[in-house]
């Protein structure tokens, strides 16, 4: 019984079916789809609020995406905890600056990896806010509801991602 919890990897189909069932439960119990990226917009606004006070609430974007600590922020916090639990159980917790696939193409300099991750983070967040969703909100939750906005977004995530990955690994690796 306990052995499957300590395995480092499960079949991607078992994981996908599990996420699908999880989405039934979030719809049924919380009346919400699985989604993550708005949490980072709220965190960013709440951090700004520490310096500039409550007037940050008045920004037009935070009138649309209210700066609350709610269901989705706890969901994202839960992801950190759940992943940590899973990694601890299987002995897969690693303190790692440079991922192996990056290292074999671009070397082991943590500053280079950190710089590109920082730039990538800026762009992906800007894109997630622009597209109004990410790989979970559009890519899984929206597509399974057959939303037109989500199918277009999910396809564009992968078109942009595949082209960029081939470009950077083709030109610089």
């Amino acid at each position: 019984m306990i052995e499957f919890l300590t395995q480092a990897r499960w079949s991607p189909y078992a994981v996908g079916i599990g996420i699908g069932i999880l989405s039934w439960l979030t719809f049924l119990i919380s009346k919400r789809p699985l989604a993550c990226s708005t949490t980072f917009a709220r965190l960013s606004g709440l951090i700004e609020m520490l310096f500039r006070g409550a007037r940050v609430d008045q920004k037009p974007y935070y009138q649309k995406v209210r700066l609350v600590i709610g269901w989705q922020m706890m969901l994202v916090l839960g992801i950190v905890i759940g992943s940590l639990l899973s990694a601890l159980l299987s002995g897969d917790l690693q303190w790692q600056w440079v991922p192996p696939a990056w290292q074999s193409s671009f070397g082991d300099n943590p500053l280079l990896r950190g710089g590109v991750a920082l730039l990538g983070g800026v762009i992906i967040a800007f894109g997630a806010r622009w597209a109004d969703g990410c790989t979970s909100g559009h890519g899984i939750s929206g597509t399974l509801q057959l939303a037109v906005s989500s199918w277009i977004s999910a396809i564009c995530f992968f078109i942009g991602g595949i082209l960029t990955a081939f470009l950077i690994f083709g030109l610089f690796a």
Binding site: W10, G82, S83, S86, A87, W130, A131, I162
Partner: protein
Amino acid sequence: MQTNDPGNKRVLDAPTLIWGLIFGILFGFLLQKGGATKYDVIIGQLLLTDFTVLKIMLSAILTGMIGIHLMKSFGWVQLHPKAGSAGINIIGGLIFGVGFALLGYCPGTIAGAIGNGYLDAAVAGLAGILIGSALFAAAYPRLSQGILKKGDFGKLTLPQLFKVNDWVVVIPVAVLIFFLLFWLERAGL
């Protein structure tokens, strides 16, 4: 119908928060077990050498789609499709993709990557995501009056677009996903 409107509260009620945390722990556990918290797995998908991410996503969509539409037909749940436009979803999606390939995590899996101990995610990636979110909030008033409105189609689902019963779309999409997964396995990907 619950609208999930927070009202004027800064922190939502405890049951809402606790359910969010429980679902998050399960989601994070699954993502880590699937390998989706790892840069190598995500970049492998974008370089078309490792199809783990697509397999997880497609089997989640297949399972979720059938269950949600069954529950909808019983009147147990309502759909929450996001409104969209060509300007929002095509341009935003492509920008997202560029960041996706550079970062090698997405906003959900980066939370899992942090739990997995990956410091490029926890330090650099997270800082970038917070900065990018703030930049968008600053640009939003201008964007919302222009490009985000281009080609607006609102909250639209595929069955509404084709003016058919949900199952006329659900069943073919399910069959298509099933055969795509079958073909991926047959091709040894």
